[in-house]
Amino acid sequence: MNLTLHVWRQPAPGQPGRIVDYPAPDISPDMSFLEMLDVVNERLIERGEEPIAFDHDCREGICGSCGLMINGAAHGPMKLTTACQLHMRSFKDGDEIWIEPWRAKAFPVVKDLIVDRSAFDRIIQAGGYISAPTGTAQDANALPIGKPEADWAMDNAACIGCGACVAACPNASASLFTAAKITHLGALPQGQPERMRRALAMVDRMDLEGFGGCTLFGECQEACPKGISIDAIMQMNRDYVLASATKVEAKEWSGSA
């Protein structure tokens, strides 16, 4: 099929960018979206033009590297699907496709479609872990965990850190990302000792990084390729309120932006 692409090109951080149009003829419906971009890039290089830069790695929907706004939707039109797993059979001959990077103050553009998502790592640094230094663990079966609790932890642990939730949110909030981690660890008995401090520190860090607040639009849940539920945000809010009320000291953990 023959397509027309409108792609955001931006040479470097802080420099002006613009939408550039590219024809994309002879695209097979069996190609993945990124393979379609590969083909366009090979043709650009042959013409002596710099290829379109985009993040990608595993191309199996698990590493979370790829992230594209495709026709205004994070990861494109197919639910529960990352851009790398989206196939061209979701489009039809003659389609025009708008491809842009994630848009959020906390995710500055690095080049073309690549953004800087290191703010996510800093949210994890604030408390998204269980302190269990190597060697300190007891036998794994000494701590039974009910299947429903373990499953709920896993549902939230499935987050791939791609940033689609932020890109889809009108407030550019990182609440779903942050809440997924708080909920994953908070659902498990191992996660209890640090639970209150974790909630305070991670939420504070999220605010410091410049993400917006959550006003429960629910766009994040729609965009999440791993189906993480907005229920996690309720859990985060409960933990945060409880932690604030019990005045757990958190500032020392959240650092400064």
Binding site: E35, P51, C63, D121, T134, N141, L185, Q190
Partner: protein
């Protein structure tokens, strides 16, 4: 100059070696640890677990990865599970049995002492991961669940849905981020290692490129750890992530680290078949599917074009169950892959180009119900459907073998140190534990064993036993290495030929797959050894890398990786040519039994081939580490 390969295997009975060694190794006292700096390259299971643990011990750690976050390392894509000799099923498992299965699975080409230690620490890994909050699958009683994997007759595989690698990596990543926040680890994301720096013969630092600013930087340390994964992307099409590459390991090889068994590559039997020329990578369908899926092809070639539902039970050949009745669909990977190839070579393959076999869940769905299957494999079925547009609940999956893992890697001794003092190599990047074939769910085990439980002890011994002068990046060795990297970068950008980097990579991959893939023979390998240098010569004359070195340039990144693959592929073929036997994933067509099984030659080849770089344009030198089997009887591997 031949190397002296000393594996430094501790004396004493196998089961006591590690304990004895742990006591004999020198320690660095807690106050002194902070005076030492360690570089860790790679942030996958091995790298992240090592960096976090070394930082917990008090060392100053710098960790580097090419991805934008350490959480994205390719360990994340491992699906099925992680082995451990917990014997929670009470089904006869033990450290000894995991050890035995791994040695046998590797077709007797791995080092006994390393493998035994791996089996010993496997149990600690599960404990550690649970303590970190890894949400392993559980039974209703709250205890951990297990599943079976190929090459084993016990259920010892722990898993987190079809995302075990992701969950283990996130556990290690969170430990790493905890240490970054504490100030024990300095993390360098989007940094690619391009050179190793030796001072007085010891590994003392690396040269990296900041992939965002383009700056070439020098980093010095007291020891260097490479945990940079495997080189499956030499085949272009593999299940590896697009960025996986051999550069760090190959640069170390060119600086004197011996490369062990480079021809040992694993072709995984259950991947989604190639759909067309545009294909950029192959997707694995977890081996765990073979717990419930039955592999078959039509008995008659003329049935291949039919809908599978139209082929009667009697006209189907469940070839794994037929040929290997005791392991059946859970035969090891090398054997299952070759059997699939044989069926397709026999004209009985299904799907486009006849390169595919069926993996059928109809019986399992009838027996257990759709919901049970959905719970076990739901995400894999969805992935399959997204890629192929076919519903595996109603129509059998089509699968075909694809390059998945590399057992070969930099040679290391028992302490995981390479032939360069101070250079340690962990995880898939080393050669040590899987011999000529890796069993399913053992890669995750090895990566975490190396990082959490081996290197934290052995690196202390190295640091305490060696007097290391203070070295800074102003040392002439750093200046020279940095200049060499800058010059190479300028060269890529100045060629301005007519072909893209990818086109060279694809062509190399095709040569490797056809001549050094699932089956190899002398004529093909010799031909590859002519074709690869020719392609390499064209690359350096005719590649087109646009843009500049300043700033983010993905073509430039790829050019560096492909340039190294173009040299490394030759080393693989050389190794495959010299090893005139079939063992594990290395199948030389000339060496097979009457019924087509791999025929080992223990008299001539029971050794590790450790290749040593001899200089530009010179043939590499073959060094041999003989393998002694004192605890396992060398026997013909049978899964019948």
């Amino acid at each position: 100059m031949a190397l002296k390969l000393d594996a430094k295997i501790p004396s004493g009975p196998l089961a006591e070696k590690w304990d004895k060694h742990r006591f004999e190794m020198k320690l660095v006292n807690p106050a002194n640890k902070r005076k030492y700096s360690i570089i860790v390259v790679g942030s996958g299971l091995a790298g992240a677990s090592a960096a976090a643990t070394l930082s917990e011990l008090g060392y100053n750690v710098s960790c580097f990865c090419y991805q934008d976050s350490p959480r994205r390392a390719h360990s994340i894509a491992a699906q099925g599970g992680i082995n451990a000799a917990k014997n929670y099923r009470n089904d006869g498992d033990s450290v000894q049995r995991l050890f035995y299965d791994t040695i046998k699975g590797g077709d007797f080409r791995a080092r006994e002492a390393n493998v035994y230690r791996l089996a010993q620490v496997s149990v600690n890994i599960i404990d550690q991961c649970v303590a970190q909050g890894v949400p392993f699958a559980r039974e209703y009683g709250g205890l951990l669940a297990n599943r079976s994997f190929g090459g084993a007759q016990v259920s010892r595989t722990f898993y987190a849905r079809g995302q075990t690698g992701q969950q283990l990596l996130i556990g290690a990543y969170q430990a790493l981020e905890k240490e970054i926040a504490r100030g024990g680890v300095r993390m360098y994301e989007r940094h690619e290692m391009l050179e190793l720096v030796l001072v007085d013969g010891k590994a003392r630092g690396i040269i990296v490129r900041d992939m965002v600013t383009g700056e070439i930087e020098s980093h010095a340390a007291d020891a260097v750890i490479l945990a940079t994964g495997g080189y499956g992307n030499v085949f272009y099409l593999s299940t590896n992530a697009k960025g996986c590459n051999v550069t760090a390991a190959y640069r170390a090889y060119k600086k004197g680290a011996a490369f062990g068994n480079p021809c040992f590559t694993q072709i995984h039997p259950t991947c989604i078949p190639v759909a067309g020329d545009h294909q950029s990578k192959l997707t694995l369908m977890s081996e765990s599917l073979r717990n419930d899926g039955r592999v078959w092809v039509p008995k008659k070639a003329e049935d291949c074009g039919k809908e599978p539902s139209q082929i009667a039970e009697a006209d189907r050949d469940y070839y794994l169950e037929r040929k290997y009745p005791s392991f059946g669909n859970l035969s090891p990977r090398d054997i299952a892959s070759r059997a699939a190839k044989e069926a397709c070579d026999d004209g009985r393959g299904v799907g486009p180009g006849g390169r595919g076999v069926y993996l059928d869940f109809a019986d399992a769905i009838k027996r257990l119900g759709r919901q049970a299957i959905e719970e076990r494999y739901g995400n894999l079925f969805e992935m399959y459907q997204r890629i192929t547009d076919e519903d595996p609940y109603t129509r059998p999956m089509r699968i075909y073998p694809a390059v998945h893992y590399t057992m070969g890697g930099l040679w290391v001794d028992y302490n995981l140190m390479s032939t360069i003092p101070g250079l340690h190599v962990l995880g898939e990047a080393n050669f040590s534990d899987h011999g000529a074939n890796r069993l399913g769910a053992s890669a995750l085990m090895q990566g975490l064993a190396d990082g959490y439980f081996v290197i934290p002890y052995t690196i202390g011994d190295y640091l305490a036993s060696n007097k290391l002068e203070k070295v800074t990046v102003d040392h002439p060795e750093f200046t020279a290495a940095k200049e060499a990297v800058e010059q190479r970068t300028r060269r890529f950008l100045s060629i301005n030929g007519t072909r893209t980097v990818d086109s060279f990579h694809r062509e190399l991959g095709k040569i490797m797959w056809e001549k050094c893939g699932m089956a190899r023979d002398e004529a093909g390998l010799k031909q590859a050894l002519v074709e690869i240098p020719r392609l390499r010569e064209e690359f350096w004359r005719n590649v087109r890398v646009l843009g500049t070195g300043e700033g983010l340039n993905q073509s430039l990144e790829k050019a560096g990786r492909v340039a190294d693959f173009l040299e490394f592929g030759e080393l693989m073929c050389l190794d495959a040519l010299h090893r005139e036997e079939s063992c594990g994933g290395h199948f030389r067509s000339e060496h097979q039994t009457e019924d087509g099984e791999a025929k080992r030659n223990d008299e001539r080849f029971a050794y590790v081939a450790a290749w040593e770089y001899a200089g530009e344009g010179k043939a590499p030198i073959l060094n041999k580490e003989p393998l002694a089997f004192e605890n396992v009887h060398l026997s013909t591997r049978s899964y019948k």
